[in-house]
C-alpha cells in the first residue's frame, strides 16, 4: 500500500522542496519522519477524521500525517457553515477533528491541533486498509455532497505533463482542498517538488509575485483565475513552462491570450470533476477536445457521449457518495455522467454548459432553484427563473426573469424589484444574487410542466 508518507520517505533528505504558504514554508524533508500531529496520531489510527484548517499548508501536512493511519479522512473546505460542518461530521461518522485554529469546531468531538511545523515523531504503524479520502462538493440544495475516493483514485496514473525538464515548482490558484487543487498537491508530492499555495486573503498580484519569487514552473487554475491574473497586470511576473486550466470551460479567446503572454509555455486544459476524476488533458492549444478521444481510451480512461453529456469510466472515478447508495454516481454501464453538455463541431467536442442548469460563477456553483426559491417566496411573484448569462470575468453570472402576480405601474414594479434584490442579498451568497432582474409576461414550461431551462 502506497501512502503519502511512503512517497515522502523516498525523498532525498537534502531536498529543498517545500510547501510554501504566504507566511510559512514547510520543508517536505521535515515530513519524512516528522509530523505536525505527532502526539495525536496514535489516537487517530483507524479513525474517521475531519481535517478543517484555516491554512492550506496545515491541511496539506494533516493529509500527509493521516493518509495510511486514519480509516477515513474528510477534507473540509474552508467555506462550510457550522451547520454544514455538523452534517458532514455526522455523515462521515467522524471520531475527531484536526485543525490549526484554537476554536472548537464540532462540540461533540475531540479536536487535535495541527502544529505549524513538523516535529520528529515515532509514527504509529500504518492502518490495515488503505485510507478512504472524502472530498466535499456542493450539492443541489447547496448542502455539501461527500464524495469517496482513495489515494489511488486521486493520484493513480497521473498523466505525464507534456513539458518541462529539470527542477519543478508547482503552484495553483485553487485551494488544494478542492479536486483541482488536490491534483496539483499530489503531483508536487509525487514529484518531490515544491508547491506554492495560494492564500484566501491575497490579490492575484501578490500571489503571482510570490509564485515568481519561488521560481514557479508549473501552474494551474480555472479559466476565471486566469482571467483575473490577466486583468491584474501581473501575469508577466511569472515565466512558467506549463500553464493548466481546469474546472470551467476554457474558451479559445482565453487560450490565445495565455499563449500570447506565455509564448514559450505549454498550455493545456483538462477536464476533471470530483465525481468523474480526471478525464483528459488537451494540449494542442484549441478549445474543446478531439472526437477521437472517444474511440481511443488513454490511460485506461473511457469516454462516451450519451444524451448530449460527457460520460467517463475509469479507475479515477470516485467510489461513490458517502451518504447515498453506490450506484447513484454511475449509469448502468459503469460510466459517471459528468452533466456537462458537449456538441460535436468540426471533429471536436465543445462544452456547452451544464445539464440541469447548474450555473458556474467563477468556479462556484449556483443551483437556479435556490435563487428562484428566494424570489418565489415573495407573494407578489408568480414564478421566476434564474439562468446563466455569459460573462467575460467569471464565465457566467446569474440573471433572473420574474413573472409578477399582477401587472402594475412602473413605480410599483420598481419597488418590487428593489425588494426582491434586497431579499436575495440578505439570504444568498454574493455570487448567487442575480446581477439583473427582468420582469417578463410569462415563462415557458415543458410538457411535463417543468420550467424550460436553456441548455437543460
Amino acid at each position: 500500500m502506497t501512502t503519502l508518507r511512503n512517497i515522502l520517505s523516498a525523498l532525498d533528505p537534502a531536498s529543498d522542496a517545500a510547501l510554501v504558504g504566504k507566511r510559512e514554508s514547510i520543508a517536505l524533508s521535515s515530513l519524512r519522519h516528522g509530523s505536525t500531529l505527532a502526539g495525536a496520531l496514535p489516537a487517530l489510527r483507524g479513525r474517521s477524521v475531519l481535517i478543517h484548517a484555516t491554512k492550506q499548508s496545515a491541511a496539506a501536512t494533516a493529509l500527509i500525517d493521516l493518509d495510511g493511519i486514519a480509516r477515513r479522512i474528510v477534507l473540509c473546505t474552508p467555506d462550510l457553515t457550522p451547520a454544514q460542518l455538523a452534517m458532514v461530521a455526522e455523515t462521515a461518522a467522524a471520531d475527531a477533528v484536526v485543525s490549526d485554529g484554537p476554536d472548537p469546531l464540532v462540540p461533540s468531538l475531540p479536536q487535535h491541533q495541527i502544529a505549524p511545523r513538523a516535529a520528529p515523531a515515532s509514527l504509529p504503524p500504518e492502518s490495515d486498509a488503505a485510507t478512504e479520502w472524502v472530498l466535499l462538493t456542493s450539492g443541489t440544495t447547496g448542502a455539501p455532497k461527500l464524495v469517496r475516493h482513495s489515494l489511488d483514485s486521486l493520484a493513480g496514473a497521473l498523466a505525464a505533463v507534456p513539458v518541462g525538464e529539470g527542477r519543478r515548482v508547482w503552484s495553483t490558484f485553487y485551494d488544494i482542498r478542492r479536486y483541482g487543487g488536490l491534483q496539483i498537491f499530489l503531483r508536487a508530492i509525487r514529484g518531490a517538488a515544491s508547491l506554492v499555495l495560494s492564500d484566501a486573503g491575497e490579490s492575484a498580484q501578490e500571489f503571482l509575485a510570490r509564485a515568481a519569487h519561488a521560481g514557479v514552473t508549473h501552474i494551474s487554475g480555472t479559466p476565471s483565475h486566469w482571467r483575473r491574473a490577466l486583468m491584474s497586470g501581473a501575469a508577466e511576473l511569472i515565466e512558467p513552462q506549463y500553464v493548466r486550466l481546469s474546472g470551467e470551460i476554457a474558451d479559445q479567446a482565453l487560450l490565445d491570450r495565455l499563449r500570447a503572454v506565455y509564448p514559450r509555455a505549454g498550455i493545456g486544459h483538462a477536464f476533471a470533476s470530483t465525481e468523474a476524476g480526471v478525464a483528459f488533458d488537451v494540449n494542442d492549444g484549441l478549445a474543446g477536445f478531439p472526437a477521437e478521444f472517444l474511440d481511443r481510451p488513454r490511460d485506461g480512461i473511457e469516454l462516451r457521449v450519451e444524451d448530449g453529456t460527457l460520460r467517463v469510466r475509469s479507475q479515477r472515478n470516485a467510489a461513490g457518495y458517502l451518504n447515498r447508495s453506490e450506484d447513484v454516481i454511475r449509469d448502468a454501464a459503469g460510466f459517471v455522467d459528468t452533466g456537462d453538455l458537449v456538441e460535436l463541431e468540426h471533429g471536436r467536442y465543445q462544452f456547452r454548459g451544464r445539464r440541469g442548469g447548474v450555473i458556474n460563477v467563477g468556479g462556484l456553483k449556483v443551483h437556479p432553484e435556490e435563487v428562484e426559491h428566494v424570489l418565489n417566496s415573495d407573494p407578489r411573484v408568480r414564478m421566476s427563473r434564474a439562468r446563466a448569462r455569459r460573462n467575460p470575468i467569471t464565465g457566467s453570472v446569474v440573471v433572473a426573469d420574474v413573472v409578477a402576480a399582477t401587472a402594475a405601474d412602473e413605480e410599483t414594479m420598481g419597488a418590487l424589484k428593489r425588494d426582491l434584490m434586497q431579499s436575495c442579498r440578505k439570504v444568498l451568497a454574493a455570487h448567487k444574487v442575480p446581477v439583473t432582474l427582468s420582469f417578463v409576461p410569462s415563462l415557458e414550461l415543458t410538457a411535463a410542466g417543468k420550467l424550460v431551462r436553456p441548455g437543460a
Partner: protein, 81 residues
C-alpha cells in the same frame, strides 16, 4: 452622461451593493487596487452591457485586458464609438 460618467456611476453603485470600499477613482488606478473583486467586475460588465449595449470583451475581436481604470474606460469608449 459620458461613457466615463456612466462607468464611474456603475462602479460606485456596485461597490455599495457589494459592501466594498472603493478606492478614489482616477485614470491610473489599477483595477486590482480598486477594492472590487472579480464578482464586482462581472456585475459591472453585465450592467454596462445593459446600459451601453456593448460588451467589448465579447466582441469577437482581440482585446487586451484592461489594467487601469483609464484602460477600462478607453475600451468602452472604442466599443461605443
Amino acid at each position: 452622461m459620458t461613457t466615463k460618467g456612466q462607468i464611474i456611476s456603475i462602479f460606485k453603485q456596485v461597490a455599495a451593493d457589494q459592501n466594498r470600499n472603493l478606492a478614489p477613482l482616477s485614470d491610473d488606478l489599477r483595477l486590482t487596487d480598486s477594492g472590487l473583486d472579480s464578482l464586482s467586475f462581472a456585475i459591472i460588465v453585465t450592467q454596462l452591457e445593459e446600459t451601453l449595449g456593448v460588451d467589448p470583451f465579447n466582441s469577437g475581436e482581440w482585446v487586451d485586458f484592461p489594467i487601469t481604470l483609464g484602460d477600462f474606460v478607453a475600451l468602452y469608449d472604442r466599443a461605443v464609438a
